[in-house]
Symmetry: C2
Subunit: 211 residues, 2 copies
C-alpha cells in the first residue's frame, strides 16, 4: 500500500513506512504495483489519476468541521490530526490553520519560500537572490540579499506567532522543519497529513464508507 | 523643469507642481521640452535615458550615511527626507528603511501588493485572486480570497509595526496611502522622494557639484 499527498510541485509518498518526495513528473511516470491511496490539490493531475485503476482518491471520505469555504484537502488532512493548536504546511504555499477543540476555525495562506524568491526575481533582476537561511532576525539587514531574506522570514514568523498566541504550532511540508526552528512552541511532524490518510484507509477497509 | 522617479513598473513625475504616474512605455514615448532631472532603478532603462541630451541623472549627486551596501537610489532619496523614523516606499516592491539621527540604519524589502498577487497565481490557479483591500485583520479568514488577502496585509503590517517600534512611519509610492491607513503612527507623503530631488537640483543650479 502506498499513501500519497500530491501538491503543486511535488508528491509526498509514504511507501512501506518510508517517506519519499518526488517531482510530479517523476511521480507520474512511476509504476506502482499495489493500491495507491492519494489526495491531490492539483486539479488537472487529479483528472489524470482518476483514470488509473489502482489509484484511489480519498478526498470524498475526509471531512472537517469548519466555517471555511473551499479549504484544500491537504489542509483538511493536516488539521484533522491536530485537536488544539496551529497547523503550518510549508510547501509551494504556506498554509496556516487554527484548530480549537477539534474544530477548524479558519486560516490563511502565505507564499512558499520558493514562491517568494520567484516573486522578487520577477520584480527586478536586482532582487534575484536565494533566501539566506542563516539570517539573523534580530538585526537590520545591510545588503539586498539579507534585506529580502529578513523580510520573508520575519514576516512569516511574526504572522504565525501572532495567530498562535502561545498555542502549539505543528509544522509539516518541505520547509516545515526549517521554519519550526524559529518557534519555541514549534513541533515538526512529517506524518501529520499521513495520519489522516492512514486512518481513512483503515476505515475504508473496515467498510465504514459506501463506495 | 520635470522631476522623475523611475521604478520597475511606472515613472512618477513632478511636472509644474503636478504629480503624474505613467507606465514606463508611455514615459519613454513622451516628448519633454525642458530639462528632465531623474533617478532610475531600472538598469536597462537608465542606459537608454543616458543618451537623451535633456535628461540629467541625479544619482551621482545624492549620498546617504549608511552601513548598507547597494541601497537603491529611490530608497536613498526617500530616506534623506526623514531625519527620524521608518520610511516605507510601496511600489513594485515595498522597501522599509530605518532612519535615526539622519543616518540610515538598514532596512528590508517585501514584495509589492501586485507581486504577491502574481506569486499566488504562479503557485496555483486556485490561488488566483486580487487582494481584498477591505479585509479585516481581526478575524480569521473563512475563504481563499480572504486567506490570501489577510496573509499579505497582516504580514506586511506586523513586520512594519515591529521594526517601527512606535516611531513615526512615512509612506510613499503607489500603495503607500492605502498601507498607511493600517497604522496610527503612519503618515502618507507623496513628496518624500521629490523633496530630495528638488534639493539636489537647487544645489546643482548653485554650482555645488562639479559636473
Amino acid at each position: 500500500m502506498i499513501l500519497c499527498d500530491i501538491g503543486n510541485t511535488n508528491a509526498h509518498l509514504l511507501r512501506e513506512g518510508e517517506f519519499v518526495i518526488e517531482s510530479l513528473e517523476r511521480f507520474l511516470s512511476s509504476v506502482f504495483g499495489g493500491k495507491v491511496y492519494y489526495i491531490c490539490v492539483n486539479d488537472s493531475l487529479r483528472q489524470v489519476l482518476k483514470k488509473r485503476e489502482n489509484f484511489i482518491d480519498l478526498e470524498s471520505f475526509i471531512k472537517i468541521d469548519t466555517p471555511y469555504k473551499g479549504i484544500g484537502i491537504d489542509r483538511i488532512c493536516a488539521c484533522k490530526s491536530v485537536h488544539e493548536g496551529v497547523v503550518v504546511d510549508a510547501g509551494s504555499a504556506i498554509t496556516v490553520d487554527v484548530m480549537s477543540g477539534g474544530k477548524h476555525q479558519g486560516g490563511f495562506i502565505l507564499p512558499g519560500l520558493k514562491a517568494y524568491e520567484k516573486a522578487y526575481k520577477d520584480i527586478s533582476p536586482r532582487l534575484n537572490f536565494d533566501i539566506n537561511r542563516e539570517i539573523s532576525l534580530n538585526s537590520l539587514p545591510k545588503n539586498t540579499k539579507d534585506a529580502i531574506s529578513f523580510a520573508v522570514l520575519k514576516s512569516l514568523v511574526l504572522t504565525i506567532q501572532n495567530i498562535a498566541d502561545g498555542k502549539n504550532i505543528y509544522f509539516t511540508g518541505g520547509d516545515g522543519e526549517y521554519l519550526s526552528s524559529f518557534f519555541e512552541n514549534g513541533v515538526f511532524d512529517r506524518m501529520i497529513v499521513f495520519k489522516t490518510l492512514l486512518n481513512t484507509v483503515e476505515e475504508l477497509k473496515k467498510g465504514k464508507f459506501k463506495c
